[in-house]
């Protein structure tokens, strides 16, 4: 890999402590309770400057629809000021910071980070810097932690059409701990190790949600062409994919830049789009036909000196142009390296070449859109090409489901931050500070060792319990049954039952069932029997009272074994157990069977 490659990570983890600035629960049923629509405008921060990422969003001028769910209140729809910061979330974040050996800030000021892509109803994300200057020991050396922030999670995008984006508000306001490293990461594999260790340091608190997107990584990457932030990497394995695809993209742009510069460069501040819709009357191109039927027009422009840099083996500038068009909700983009094609014949391409004044080194771009959007794209595309050829590649990208990174927005500056005046700055209490520092005395790995030792379970089980976010339920069940049994129940029995049922059982229900069975003077054998009959469709409420979870008494076993032996005189031990299970679902002690059967 490139020796100039510099990598840093931002890891985001959701806390299960209740939302950060209101008293809504973190999880809801996703039941829709209403819908509103809003618009957002960029505003200037403390310095009077407007954030460039915000201006970019404004130019895209979109309306946002928000779906309300049963875990949203007036705070999420920006109709009520935030409540004071959730102390449980703060305490969890401080513990994570301490585990990462950060120095905790004793005075916390909440900021507004301007985000007007609609993912926050207020137009900003509330975020607080809570700790700085930590470090993480890895197999490839020390990685410095620059900061730990506690912020609000954004709303989840559920649909996007022309100039309209729809979000669900259930996720908005969930506390998110953001851990940022310095660019000390040496390779994609190293990045995976760092992300895993950071994740572990957070999971060890037992306060990370179990949601599928509870942990998200952003990669900060530079190979000397400016910092690129790649967002939205939810699986550890994707970190490597994202880094490798971005490195190859930047190398490809560097090659394209060299070719184009050699030919005299790209010297346009806008593309001269001409309407060539007339050439497509009765066209065989499905893409063009669809656009025309939607009332759109076909615009063509010459791409100076860009012939054969748009889509060749190792240069793909066409993709870069398509990305920026997509950001303005334009999907219909074609270029000369893929033409003739898409139902467009050679003679049409020639006519367009002539009309646009295409020279031998020039490429052609076709865009299917409205006049108004074409006017905007004319400048946006030209400025993007100019920027790329200058090898100024800094921007925010995202990791798409196609396994590559794609353009998201300009990299935001410090202008996007100003104080959240609705939340008063506050002092971290001595108790919180002390609790966090005490917690941070052990690293995550040491803490897993301790769990293994303290509760008499294997280290591997301890690790699985932590990384599957099962620590809270493990500790809760330990109140009623031995920890080893709790571990077996959580790691084996319950997943098995959930597979059979085809759905997961809520933690509160698991705890209730275990507690209710144990209250009847029954032990873990009955608990497992209880879960077994749950999986065969029994109603949970009825289980603690059910006779089917009561173990067979010695007498009952003796009668049963007597019956079985009468029919199968020479029966073996293993078959005997199976025969008993066939006759009853009730639990029994195998040792008693052996002593009675006298085999």
């Amino acid at each position: 890999m490139n020796k100039d490659l510099v990598i840093g990570l931002e890891v985001h983890l959701q806390l299960n402590t209740g939302k950060l600035f209101c008293r809504c629960p973190v999880s809801g049923t996703d039941q829709i309770t209403g819908q509103i629509s809003r618009r957002l405008k960029p505003t200037s921060g403390e310095s009077g400057l407007v954030d460039r990422a915000a201006i970019y969003e404004e130019e895209r001028s979109r309306a946002f629809d928000y779906v309300l769910t049963d875990n949203t209140c007036l705070v999420e729809i920006d109709e009520e000021p935030p409540r004071p910061m959730n102390p449980h979330a703060l305490s969890a974040a401080l513990k994570i910071a301490a585990t990462l050996k950060c120095s905790i800030l004793e005075d916390i000021e909440c900021m507004r980070k301007i985000v007007i892509d609609g993912s926050n109803t207020s137009g900003f994300q509330r975020t607080s810097l809570i700790a700085m200057n930590g470090s993480l020991d890895t197999e490839r050396g020390k990685v410095r932690i620059s900061s730990v922030c506690l912020e609000e999670d954004s709303a989840r995008k559920i649909a996007e059409e022309d100039h309209m984006v729809k979000y669900s508000l259930g996720r908005l306001g969930i506390p998110l701990v953001e851990i940022t490293t310095e660019p000390d990461i040496k390779s994609a594999d190293h990045a995976i190790e760092v992300a895993r260790l950071i994740g572990l340091s957070a999971m060890i608190t037992g306060l990370i949600t179990k949601d599928s997107d509870s942990i998200r990584q952003d990669v900060n990457l530079s190979m000397g062409y400016g910092r690129v932030e790649i967002k939205g990497i939810s699986r550890l394995s994707q970190i490597k994919e994202a880094i490798e695809s971005e490195v190859s993209r930047q190398q490809s742009i560097a090659r394209a830049s060299e070719i184009i510069k050699k030919r005299g460069g790209f010297n346009r501040s806008y593309l001269e789009f001409i309407d060539v819709s007339d050439l497509f009357e009765g066209t065989g191109s499905i893409l063009v036909k669809k656009g025309l039927s939607e009332g759109k027009r076909i615009f063509a422009a010459c791409l100076e000196n860009m012939n054969e840099t748009l889509k060749q083996d190792d240069v793909r500038m066409g993709q870069e142009i398509a990305d920026i068009a997509r950001a303005f909700s334009v999907g219909g983009v074609l270029h000369s390296d893929e033409l003739p094609g898409y139902g467009i014949d050679d003679s049409t391409v020639k006519t367009i070449s002539k009309k646009t004044g295409r020279g031998v080194n020039d490429g052609i771009l076709l865009v299917i859109t409205t006049k108004r959007t074409a006017d905007i794209l004319s400048r946006e595309i030209a400025s993007r090409i100019t920027k790329l050829i200058k090898l100024d590649l800094q921007e925010t990208r995202f990791f798409s489901d196609k396994g590559r990174t794609a353009y998201l927005r300009p990299l935001p500056g410090a202008e996007r931050m100003y104080p959240e005046t609705d939340v008063k700055p506050f002092h971290v209490t001595n108790e919180d500070l002390k609790e966090a520092i005490d917690f941070g005395k052990l690293s995550a790995e040491e803490r897993i060792d301790k769990i293994s030792k303290d509760y008499g379970i294997s280290r591997q089980d301890a690790n699985t319990i932590v990384t599957n976010m099962r620590l809270p339920i493990f500790l809760a069940l330990g109140e009623f049954i031995p920890f080893r049994s709790a571990s077996r129940l959580i790691l084996q029995k319950i997943p098995e039952v959930e597979r059979k049922m085809g759905k997961s059982i809520e933690d509160e229900k698991i705890i209730w069932l275990v507690q209710s069975i144990v209250k009847h003077g029954l032990d873990v054998t009955s608990v497992e029997a209880g879960f077994e009959i749950l999986s065969s469709g029994a109603e949970m409420k009825s289980i603690p009272e059910s006779g089917e979870i009561v173990p067979l008494s010695q007498n009952e076993l003796r009668d049963l074994i007597g019956d079985i032996k009468k029919n199968n005189p020479g029966i073996r031990q293993g078959s005997l157990m199976n025969e008993i299970r066939k006759k009853t679902r009730r639990p029994f002690d195998p040792r008693t069977v052996i002593s009675i059967a006298d085999l």
Partner: protein, 416 residues
């Protein structure tokens, strides 16, 4: 930083804190703390005693967009005056105190109305810069003079106002302007204009759209619901703030809705048209009026103390307009001594009626003046006006409709 002099706000510094060197922007001092902005944009607060300044760089340029106190926006034919009194709508973050407060920067208005620039020629003027909880009847009179002046030179007046007492000002202006040659559209916002989600932008845009209509009264224009995209115009004497924080806090009470904008289309109903003759402004108010909220714990003594020095007391009574029997004698005494006792209801919706129950009849017999379905706040402001306008006919005028504050027919509108 003890013993070191503080640089001006905005200076770029290199500081040392807790053994770490940081490049920061100095924001402010706050009771022994220094607030600094890091390169990442986050603010940090350190006790000044723990901070050592290593180096001070140049003070950054002030990039803030500013606007003169008076300015013109748009190149259209319709001359509209926009007067700002302050309130959340013209408020921004004050980076020195960290609080939100009114500023003299109205530059955001240009962005709010870019769609209308071809139709209007908007002259903006800051006539005051206060939060509406600090408004007094003297302010109403001053505002009425500013509006009259603006009305003489333009086709419509838009007034930016804090929302807390906006309906009081709206009522006062409604009565004081006996004839108006232009609409007076008041608007405010529930989210300050420094927030991307502020309702200020749409509220101003909608107010200007309403101001292009033939309206000869004072209305309040705010969001019609929690979504952007629709606005409501409420008759000044019929508006009430019914929520502390929502965008659609203002509700028309009774048949107070006189206009609506949906998808940039304006609908007007049931309005008084503007007069072709000259403006008639009656700029006198008797401030010796107040609202007494009756509760089961209210005593004669309390009512007496409250009424001291007043010329009219509006009682917010219960239900149809009832107060405890124990207060009846005091009400009669006050009434006999020349203090007008006006009866409205805490229910806010519906009409007072002192004929249904004996307690109501006794209250009526004590000289109290029931004022139909008039809102308590409107009744107080109207008392101020009537006490100067025609004190001899106080009861009669209070009980007749002057600006839409009383309707004799209760429409079957939705009860809010």
């Amino acid at each position: 930083m003890s013993g070191q002099s503080l640089p001006p706000s905005g200076s770029k510094l290199q500081i040392e804190h807790d053994g770490q060197e940081l490049h920061v922007t100095f924001i402010k001092e706050d009771s022994g703390y220094g607030v600094f902005k890091l390169a990442s944009g986050y603010n940090v607060r350190f006790p000044l005693a723990d901070v050592k300044i290593i180096k001070i760089y140049d003070i950054s340029q002030d990039h803030r967009k500013t606007m003169k106190e008076e300015t013109n926006i748009g190149r259209g034919a319709h001359r509209i005056s926009l007067l700002s009194t302050g309130g959340t709508i013209s408020s921004r973050v004050d980076y020195t105190t960290g609080a939100v407060r009114p500023t003299k920067d109205l530059s955001f208005i240009r962005e709010a109305i870019s769609d209308l620039e071809d139709r209007i020629n908007l002259r903006t003027e800051i006539i005051d810069s206060i939060l509406s909880e600090n408004m007094t009847p003297s302010h109403w009179i001053k505002i009425s003079h500013d509006i009259k002046k603006a009305m003489e030179s333009s086709e419509a007046v838009v007034l930016l106002h804090g929302t807390d007492t906006m309906s009081y000002t709206a009522s006062a202006l409604s009565f004081m302007f006996e004839k108006q040659t232009a609409p007076v559209i008041m608007t405010g916002s529930q989210r300050s204009s420094d927030r991307p989600s502020s309702d200020a932008f749409e509220n101003i845009e909608s107010s200007i759209r309403f101001s292009l209509e033939n309206i000869g009264e004072v209305g309040i224009c705010m969001h019609a619901n929690s979504s952007d995209g629709s606005a409501i115009l409420i008759r000044g004497v019929r508006a009430r703030k019914m929520h502390t924080s929502r965008r659609d806090a203002f509700k028309p009470m009774g048949d107070g809705e006189i206009g609506r904008i949906t998808d940039r289309r304006t609908f007007i109903k049931n309005i008084r048209k503007k007069t072709d003759s000259s403006i008639e402004l009656f700029d006198q108010l008797d401030k010796r009026c107040g609202i007494f909220y009756f509760t089961p714990a209210s005593t004669e003594e309390e009512l007496e103390n409250f009424s001291r020095g007043k010329k009219a007391v509006v009682i917010m009574a219960t239900g149809l307009g009832h107060v405890a029997e124990a207060l009846l004698k005091k009400i009669r005494d006050l009434s006999d001594s020349g203090i007008h006792i006006v009866i409205t209801s805490q229910c806010l919706n519906g009409r007072v009626d002192l004929d249904v129950y004996a307690s109501g009849r006794n209250l009526s017999a004590s000289g109290a003046i029931p004022v139909e379905d008039m809102l308590p706040e409107t009744a107080m402001v109207k008392s101020m006006y009537v006490l100067k306008k025609d004190p001899d006919n106080f009861a009669k005028l209070m009980q007749s409709d002057m600006r839409g504050e009383i309707t004799l027919r209760s429409d079957t509108v939705e009860i809010r």
